[in-house]
Amino acid sequence: MQVDFSNNYFELFELPVSFNVPTEHLDTRFRSLQRFLHPDKFASAADAERRWSMQAASFVNEAYQTLSSPLKRASYILSLNGISLDEETDTQMSPMFLMEQMELREALGEAPDAADPYAALDKISKQLTGSQASSADEFAQACEKEDWPTARTVVRQWQFLEKLGSEVQAQEARLDDAL
């Protein structure tokens, strides 16, 4: 048995397709879905039911993780509207944005040698968090106007920011390990 609820993450969570999602509703709905679907509720059931439960719970987890993360949610909305983020077909990025990225990367590379490496990383983190918040605002606006080309550009830049953010965290972890 294969269960496939394709294209209905928002509907599964009883929400309209929109970038703005009420976090509390998302969490509550997630818990009530898992209370019903989770494999722990089927531990003594027939094999077919157990397998169904695993697939359904996997699907709900994926949906929840997608809708909970602003960037994943934005990408998902693009895909629902038939917009591909495929980097290989289109590598164009704004020169200004790329310049900023290079500066941030340079700062990240130099952070371990700074007098206070944690403070240096913290500074980069704050800058990234600010940029990501602006990305979220810009996306919400573009999304409302159904301006998909702009929305797509915003998401692609956002992905860069997110990747850099995880590199900052990895650098922090390396500093911790060296303590």
Partner: protein, 635 residues
């Protein structure tokens, strides 16, 4: 006076029978079994009145393996045949074993099987078999105390166990004849024990330092739902390391550069351990141990000295603490409670320093040695179906990222660490050369970018890919991680529909054949009646299936089935019931299989109907469009 309950004629059902289920804490140093008795989770004592047994197995040339305290008595006199800390080698390969301190303590056979084995007087024994012996002992303790056959057990594992270590634990349970209801992460089990007692909502940290493993987890608790936010740790760090460090210090103090044999080392370790325990409540501990000429250990150790000896080891736990906070995006001030788990958290320095790190007093209300087993017992009781109205739900995560090797020895991450399980993720890959018709997939687990730095889980091959130009094929690889944290990988070439599927058999694990062989061997040696045992197990399983289907049919059988369909299933149920009256385990097995196959359509209709109900308020036709159900794609 209570009124007798009498069911409607024709609907008669046996009164609800409590299903016997236990929680097992299979520890590096000690192991425990617990069960919910009259509503409260209780650690079960064995015939010697011990609620905790040493995870030690003694193998002699004649006779059955001896487990627990009686085994430990042989540690000094017959060290090579007295196996302890086997948990450290679960899911490990030859390289890991050679680099472990266990390699100095035991003799290993690296070549005979697919995983290294201890050389003992009773023959080669893998860590899986040693663990199985411990599990069998716990099972028999439980069955004697509870007075019946177990339907299953929840077995705890360190949260940071990888796929190979989890699979090894499950294999050990299979060898011990235990049906695993769930592999549960130890810190999650501890949170269950605490959460239900305290009834608090919020984020808690579970710091679990056991004999051989360290875990730190952050959990969000909300109205009975335990959601793991992040977990990190070290599966090769624990109280054993404290003992070794103290033993080294004792040698240094006494001017002893080497010990004559393993027996002497064991005695010194035992001394180190008792000093550690004394220093948990005293400022100083005197010692005296004579192991022979110029091997005299005599003196006194102060708690400050002890602290300085273990300081470096303790500090190894802090990066993981920072890691979980970072991964969960939680500040220290958001952590409402810090729970201490594992015997090694009895060390005052550990409690103190963890408290300093999280800037609060740590919780030690529940015995740190019992808390994991207690939590596992509560979960087992729910999973066995004894508490249908329970609010308890555990949402755990995968501790280490899963990925595939790509060109150049790089890892493409598919399921990042701390993803809530169960989870399925698909990823597309393509061919590298023109005309390429096969593709090797190498599944790894870990956080590093290079394959060489990650743990190899399994390799499998996808064949019969249509010969096309490089990059033209689209191969979709699906990673399915189940609620036990175990991975299944399948791959599909999208154009041709070629399917390859494997269960991830660990690169450092047993093949199915080896497991069968061990099972057969262990049964030959077992004194109990093997046939009887198999029949009893099959009967438990058969009754479980009858019950499951009966309650489903009662609930909504008529709603989903035509009378013809219904009578077909009824006939299969009847024939299973009949086989349960008999004494042939194969007949029961066959009847179970027939019933499960025959009722699959019913099960499917029920589940889909439930989903529709769940999504009530929406147009049914719309739901039907979204809910694609295909019975042909299976497997």
């Amino acid at each position: 006076m209570a009124l007798l309950q009498i069911s409607e004629p024709g609907q008669s059902q046996a009164p609800h029978q409590r299903r016997l289920a236990v929680g097992i804490d299979l520890g590096t140093t000690n192991s425990l079994v617990a069960s919910v008795i009259s509503g409260s989770a209780t650690v079960l004592k064995n015939e010697q009145h011990e609620w905790s047994i040493p995870s030690v197995v003694y193998y002699s040339a004649s006779g059955e393996p001896v487990v627990g305290s009686s085994a430990q008595e042989n540690a000094a006199s017959d060290p090579f045949n007295t196996i302890r800390s086997a948990k450290r080698l679960m899911g490990k390969g030859s390289d890991d074993v050679s680099n472990s301190w266990l390699a100095e303590h035991y003799e290993f056979d690296f070549d005979s099987g697919s995983i290294p084995a201890f050389k003992t007087a009773a023959g080669n024994r893998t860590a899986i078999e040693v663990s199985a012996n411990i599990l069998s002992t716990l099972r028999s303790t439980a069955e004697k105390t509870l007075g019946g056959e177990l339907v299953g057990a929840v077995i705890t594992v360190p949260a940071y166990f990888d796929d190979a270590q989890r699979q090894a634990t499950k294999d050990a349970a299979a060898l011990a004849g235990i049906h695993v209801l769930r592999l549960l992460n130890e810190p999650t089990a501890a949170a269950v024990a605490y959460g239900l007692d305290n009834g608090n909502d919020g984020v808690v940290a579970i710091y679990d330092l056991g004999g051989g493993t360290f875990d730190i987890s952050l959990l969000k608790m909300q109205r009975g739902v335990f959601e793991v936010l992040a977990t990190a740790g070290n599966t090769a760090l624990g109280g054993d390391d404290f003992d070794n460090a103290v033993a080294d210090w004792l040698m240094e103090q006494s001017g002893v550069s080497a010990l004559p044999d393993q027996g002497a080392r064991r005695q010194l370790l035992r001394l180190a351990r008792s000093l550690k325990e004394t220093l948990s409540s005293q400022q100083t501990a005197p010692y005296e141990l004579n192991l022979g000429e110029s091997l005299m250990f005599r003196g006194e150790i102060h708690v400050d000295t002890f602290n300085s000896i273990i300081e470096a080891l303790f500090k190894k736990t802090l990066p993981s603490c920072r890691q979980v906070l970072r991964d969960a995006g939680i500040a220290k001030s958001d952590v409402q409670a810090v729970v201490m788990v594992g015997g090694s958290t009895r060390v005052p320095l550990v409690r103190e320093r963890v408290g300093e790190f999280f800037e609060q007093t740590v919780l030690t209300d529940i015995d740190p040695d019992q808390v994991v087993a207690v939590g596992a017992a509560i979960q087992a009781d729910v999973l066995a179906g004894n508490k249908p109205d329970s609010d308890l739900l555990l949402l755990d995560v995968i501790p280490l990222s899963l990925g595939l090797e790509t060109m150049g020895g790089l890892v493409e991450k598919i399921v990042p660490r701390n993803t809530t399980i169960p989870i399925a993720r698909a990823q597309e890959f393509t061919t590298y050369k023109d005309g390429q018709t096969a593709m090797a997939l190498h599944v790894v687990q870990g956080e590093r970018e290079l394959v060489a730095d990650c743990r190899s889980l399994a390799r499998f091959e996808l064949r019969d890919i249509p010969a096309r130009t490089a990059g033209a094929c689209r191969i979709q690889v699906l990673f399915q991680v189940d609620a036990d944290g175990l991975l299944t990988v399948s791959a599909l070439e999208k154009e041709s529909g070629v399917v390859a599927s494997i269960d991830v058999k660990p690169s450092y694990g047993l093949s199915d054949g080896e497991i069968e062989e061990m099972l057969r061997a262990s049964m030959e040696h077992a004194s109990e009646d093997v046939q009887k045992r198999a029949l009893a197990e099959q009967k438990v399983e058969g009754s479980r299936v009858v019950e499951a289907i009966a309650s489903a049919l009662d609930a909504d059988g008529d709603q989903h089935l035509s009378s013809e369909e219904r009578s077909e299933i009824d006939a299969l149920v009847a024939s299973l019931k009949q086989s349960l009256e008999g004494d042939v385990s194969d007949n029961i097995k066959l009847a179970v299989e027939k019933l499960e196959a025959g009722s699959s359509v019913f099960v499917e209709r029920r589940m889909n109907a439930s989903v529709k109900e769940l999504m009530a308020g929406q147009e049914l036709s719309e739901l039907e469009r979204k809910l694609v159900t295909d019975t042909n794609v299976e497997d």
